[in-house]
């Protein structure tokens, strides 16, 4: 059994003072469906609009695609579990376990893939700021395509390995270590970018003119907004992903400890958090772009009124 199917099975409640917290299925379904719709919208918008065929939007599209897969498979898994609990499916049937394995592979792939996409987005922004002159030479569409192909292949291979060999602690340690390393990497990149842009803006605001004061105010306001945005970006990532990874760590480190068991009892909440990250991601990355918002409006409104070309 893999950790994702751990969620829906109830442990021996009688002996535990920390009963498993169960999240009702409608909530899972609602989150899954809404995040599926959002991310699918982002993917379709990026593909359809030619203006959005740039490396940055390719990475955002890849992130949205991974989130789409995650929402889809999680919703399917919920459906399967509901059917199984109502007796329509066997829990231990061979086809069900195979399907369960496929679902877990896809989930694992999408989780790892979204982390890789975050890293790709962060590196892309880093190159935009620090190597702005050579940006179009460094990050061509071909390179972006190669990077995305590598990401998707790596995720697929890693997911299959993870699910096959999940019992091995080494794989789980790799998974957790990968999460923390990418967290530190993204944190470092964004903090560095923030500090450079802050000093850059400080120079602009330090100019000698009557407008200097106005720009100082705007500098301060801009930097504050930058700080808030960075906090949201990073904070949401950490808050949504860390609980699950702590769960994996705890499974490895202290399976018998009662404190650890009480933490493990909240597994479904942690999975809900991870799914809601797929829900929040478009708001943080994709919907901030004017061009993308414009494309959405055109797609949604034009499909109703058929007035747009």
């Amino acid at each position: 059994m893999t950790p994702f199917s751990l969620a829906m099975n109830v442990s021996t409640v009688n002996q535990s003072d920390c009963p498993d917290v169960t999240v009702p299925f409608p909530i899972f379904f609602a989150i899954g469906v809404v995040s599926l719709a959002e991310n699918l919208l982002v993917v379709v918008a990026v593909i359809r609009n030619r203006n959005l065929h740039s490396p940055m939007y390719c990475f955002i599209c890849s992130l949205a695609a991974f989130n789409t897969i995650a929402s889809l498979t999680k919703t399917c898994e919920n459906l399967m579990i509901v059917l199984a609990e109502n007796g329509h499916l066997q829990k231990k049937g061979s086809s069900e376990t195979k399907l369960d394995d496929v679902i877990d592979s896809l989930l694992c792939m999408s989780f790892v893939g979204s982390i890789f996409s975050f890293m790709a987005i962060a590196v892309d922004r880093y190159i935009t700021i620090f190597h702005a002159l050579q940006y179009h030479n460094i990050m061509t569409m071909q390179r972006a395509g190669v990077i995305l192909a590598v990401i998707w292949t790596t995720c697929g291979v890693w997911a299959v390995l993870m699910v096959q060999f999940f019992a091995s602690k080494f794989i789980m340690i790799c998974f957790v270590a990968f999460f923390f390393i990418s967290l530190a990497f993204i944190c470092f990149l964004y903090a560095y970018m923030f500090m450079l842009a802050r000093s850059h803006a400080r120079e602009i605001a330090a100019l000698p003119s009557s407008k200097g004061r106005k720009f100082r105010r705007q500098w301060w306001r801009g930097s504050m907004r930058g700080a808030l945005t960075l906090t949201i970006l990073f904070g949401v990532f950490v808050v949504c992903w860390a609980p699950f990874f702590l769960h994996l760590t705890i499974i490895m480190v202290c399976p018998l400890n009662p404190y650890c068991e009480c933490y493990r009892s909240l597994f479904q909440l942690h999975v809900v958090l991870m799914m809601s990250h797929a829900l929040i991601d478009p708001a943080i990355y994709a919907f901030r772009s004017n061009e993308l918002r414009h494309t959405f409006r055109k797609m949604l409104l034009c499909s109703e009124w058929r007035q747009c070309s």
Binding site: R125, A132, H200, T231, V238, P255
Partner: protein, 202 residues
């Protein structure tokens, strides 16, 4: 009755078996007696730690913002600062001391960087440096009538220097409400299409 009891026991055992996982099979149930701290102490500790971390990160960023406040008046500060790769760099070229236009120090650049940009840039949209100077001087001399042009140039200038939206100046509202790090590609595209040849990042 006994058969039923046996069957229910078997089925109960079978269902017990179904519900258990591989790693928990040979473990005894966890005992909750004699706990010193609260049961959910790990959970509480984790979330408190996470909240503290996020808030701490926010305060560190805002502290960086506050302590980095620019000086009141220092016309030389921008010129003396040297930052490789940026065009707001140590200005080695000749400076016009009487120049009051705030955009002046940003436009003039050292020869080395200018040639570097020439070698890098292949779009052929950049004017020569003397032309830049004349453009700036003209702008200064016709200050009043060219107020709108100047504002426009300032807009473009600051949108060029608006390293992804850290400084979201109200004038450069053509970037909309996008914030930090969201639209670097827009910046680059605008740079690509712009006619102005400021000391350009592009």
């Amino acid at each position: 009755m006994s058969a039923f009891h046996n069957r229910s026991q078997t089925s109960a055992r079978r269902s017990d078996y179904v519900w258990q996982y591989e790693y928990y099979d040979d473990e005894e149930p966890v005992s909750f007696e004699g706990l010193k701290a609260h049961r959910y102490s790990i959970v509480i500790g984790f979330w408190v730690g996470l909240a503290v971390f996020v808030i701490f990160m926010f305060f560190v960023l805002t502290l960086l913002t506050k302590t980095g406040a620019p000086h009141q008046e220092n016309p030389d500060s921008a010129e003396k600062r040297h930052r490789p790769g940026s065009c707001l760099v140590d200005i080695d070229g000749p400076q016009d001391e009487n120049d009051k236009a705030f955009s002046r120090p940003l436009l003039s650049e050292s020869r080395s960087y200018f040639h570097f940009y020439i070698n890098e840039e292949d779009r052929g949209q950049r004017k020569l440096k003397p032309e830049e100077k004349t453009a700036v001087k003209q702008q200064e001399s016709f200050n009043r009538p060219r107020e709108e042009n100047k504002a426009e140039r300032e807009n473009d200038l600051f949108s060029h220097f608006n390293i992804p939206n850290f400084v979201n100046l109200e004038q450069s509202s053509n970037l909309g409400e996008e914030d930090l790090l969201y639209e670097p590609s827009v910046i680059l595209e605008r740079q690509a299409h712009s006619q102005d040849t400021h000391c350009d990042i592009h």
